[in-house]
Subunit: 436 residues, 2 copies
């Protein structure tokens, strides 16, 4: 099948504008969505369970009468796991273990130090009390997302993890529930959309209020999360998924084609970009894609996303490729090149970096260990993969000895007066030692 | 002066509702503000400098013609520092040094580890490229905020720090500019409000686009920050400042009164709460407040904030006090008690914890070392003080050895098929070794 994928050269005039246009993604939800979501959030805030049941019955075509019908018990999760094939359960457990092991290394600890005056300064690190994990239901149900969102919270020591997952027409996904059981989710509610986000943010009679909401969702979920940000914490608002593959031309073109497909198959807005200094290789990858696309079960999605948002970029050399990688700040960056450990030094911005020819994004998506919840659309310039640090927080510790306080007060008081804050100055000065 | 400060007992029926009502703070900006800010942001995004100049002239009553008039050079910052008294400069420099020293301990480093298969997993930590710091101008100009927002970014290794500070009627604050010089700000623009936030988020012809915007501001600034969140990173949206003082009754009542005033004097919405198991002591503190309030230059503000949002809470014992502290999750928590190092173990949620009788919040506000930008309104339940970690980000590193890739692919491929992602499965399977 012929594929009309954009081809660029970084040497051509206007390349930077072309690149910017390629990367442009407007995540702003329109006024209609904003208005609808604001209404749902407000209703759930005011009416609690009653509104949650009403919206769930309406949007998920269910006939819920009592709020207790919305909860799936741990016992039911265990039964769902029994219904999944033992091989798949083994794979889920192996993945969970590896994700756990990697995330254990992200745990941060409290620290403190004492100054000569006896004053002690430090930072106390504590887990969040309760976290909500949003898991999409319906056609795009991803058990791997359950593991990736829940495991870091468990490693952080979060006491209670609440999962919400919509079950349109009452259909549950056993693999998703099995993953919830394996990951150690405490309670599961079969609700979704803006109503689920609002219920977690404000709490209802039966759904406990959480401290932070994480997990992917559609535009209604994303808009609701942004709306309740501040009332609770949220993770990043995710845009469409993207990969930037940098290849020196020495990897099997079929492998690279399939790596690009694995991103493109997510949805029509997904973005797959290949960057290479080898023009002949780019042509080979294109031929491979054209040959392989018809073998793909999701070929229609792959074709649309590659033609709409994909690109093959010919660069001058590997330095040029690294510059482009830093501009793109890709969610997934694959360095399918010689000596990736050398070139990775030049990368300043990326969500996850897949190094070498044997490291496809797909292993990172499921089981390598690092999180697959990554900053999209260039937000790797300022944000990080989901991690244990998202479920821990810090409190500053200050203990002043009488002598330390006296010294510090002499610095603080004039600065407070410089800001016309007299009570600040006096509060500090009360601690100045008379004989000091 | 008589002060009508609320008095509660934690033993009384309905206490929890009273406490919730006391703490309630609705930070939602109204539809009028939302609409105004959306218009300003859109204009700046579309028209750049032209719109920035127009809004600055309008809101700050200035007569700017060229965008170059909006910038203050490093040389001008140095001159401003010359105009500040040498003593105050010494105090600023001493504070900057202590803030620097504390924050150095927050720096995070990259790490990696190798598995038996030869596969390497890790996390690369990098600073943000460019950060914008918003500094309020006009009556509430705080040089200490310049230090607290800029120093962590410097310690993180941020390459370029852009400060914006409105100068209503063209009036500059020399101490603020001196602090900017000392902290190492790279460029300063005299703009403020939603237009400054939009300029930093999208960039204009003369103002560079940043990766993250931090710093306090009024409701227009806060609304604009929330609006551009996702385009750039932002710090938390700050509510009014608050302190919870827990005292066992053995600290000088005048000291505690002044510690409460130092919070109350910020603005009419600031919140000061005293918690003590000693009812007689609570009365003593109240008397001290009534005696001292008239000596205060900001007595009108102190009176309003204490009467509107202040409270004196009598508790059963110190355990009860700690429970309340965890419910409040205060921005500033002062433990003016014996053995604070023992009781602090029970604290799960607080922005900064001031331990012992000689540690007033005021020393933390200026020079103890920890940051004074702290989570307000109970958001310490899920967020942290501003820190070096806000200016660093992480990239996951995955390098699979051929053997490691082969093993991982056998886990990943079935999981991918379980999610109907065939290209993911095939991309992984290409890496399964034929003879393995």
């Amino acid at each position: 099948m012929k594929l009309n994928v954009r081809e660029f050269s970084s040497s051509s005039e206007g390349f930077r504008d072309e690149l910017d246009a390629l990367l442009a993604w407007d995540s702003v939800s329109d006024a209609g969505v904003q208005h609808a979501v604001a209404g749902i959030v407000e209703q759930v805030r005011l009416k609690g369970d009653e509104a949650v049941i009403e919206f769930t019955n309406k949007f998920d075509r269910r006939q819920v009468v009592e709020s207790s019908e919305l909860e799936i018990s741990r016992d039911e999760l265990a039964l769902a796991k029994e219904r999944v094939s033992p091989e798949l359960v083994d794979n889920l457990e192996a993945a969970a273990q590896r994700v756990n092991d990697y995330h254990e290394r992200q745990k941060q600890s409290s620290w403190q130090y004492q100054e000569d005056s006896g004053t002690v300064l430090g930072q106390k690190v504590t887990p969040l009390d309760r976290v909500g994990v949003y898991v999409p239901g319906g056609k795009a149900a991803y058990p791997s997302s359950v593991l990736m969102n829940v495991m870091p919270a468990k490693v952080a020591g979060v006491k209670e993890i609440i999962m919400v997952v919509p079950t349109p027409d009452g259909v549950v996904n056993d693999i998703v529930l099995a993953a919830a059981y394996i990951a150690g989710v405490d309670r599961v509610f079969t609700i979704g959309g803006a109503q689920a986000v609002a219920a977690l943010a404000y709490g209802t009679q039966s759904i406990p209020k959480v401290d932070k909401i994480v997990g992917p969702g559609n535009i209604f979920v994303a808009t609701a999360k942004k709306m309740v940000f501040g009332v609770v914490g949220i993770d990043m608002i995710a845009g469409p998924s993207e990969i930037l593959v940098v290849c020196d031309g020495k990897t099997d073109p079929d492998w690279i084609a399939m790596d690009l497909f694995s991103q493109a198959e997510h949805d029509e807005d997904a973005q797959s970009i290949l960057v290479s200094p080898d023009l002949a290789f780019i042509k080979e990858v294109k031929s491979a894609m054209e040959r392989l696309v018809d073998t793909q079960s999701r070929k229609d999605i792959i074709k649309v996303s590659l033609e709409n948002r994909g690109a093959l970029i010919h660069v001058k050399d590997m330095d040029d490729a690294m510059d482009i990688a830093n501009i793109v700040a890709a969610e997934h960056l694959e360095l399918s090149i010689d000596e990736p450990e050398k070139w990775v030094e030049k990368i300043r911005h990326a969500g996850a970096i897949f190094m070498g020819r044997h490291t496809p994004e797909a292993v990172g998506d499921y089981c390598a260990g690092p999180n697959h919840v990554l900053p999209t659309s260039g937000t790797a310039r300022f944000s990080s993969p989901l991690g244990v640090y998202d479920f821990q927080k810090r409190s500053s510790l200050i203990y002043c000895s009488p002598e330390g306080a006296s010294d510090l007060a002499k610095i603080a008081a004039p600065l407070a007066r410089g800001e016309s804050l007299e009570a600040h100055a006096m509060s500090a000065e009360y601690r100045i030692l008379k004989d000091a």
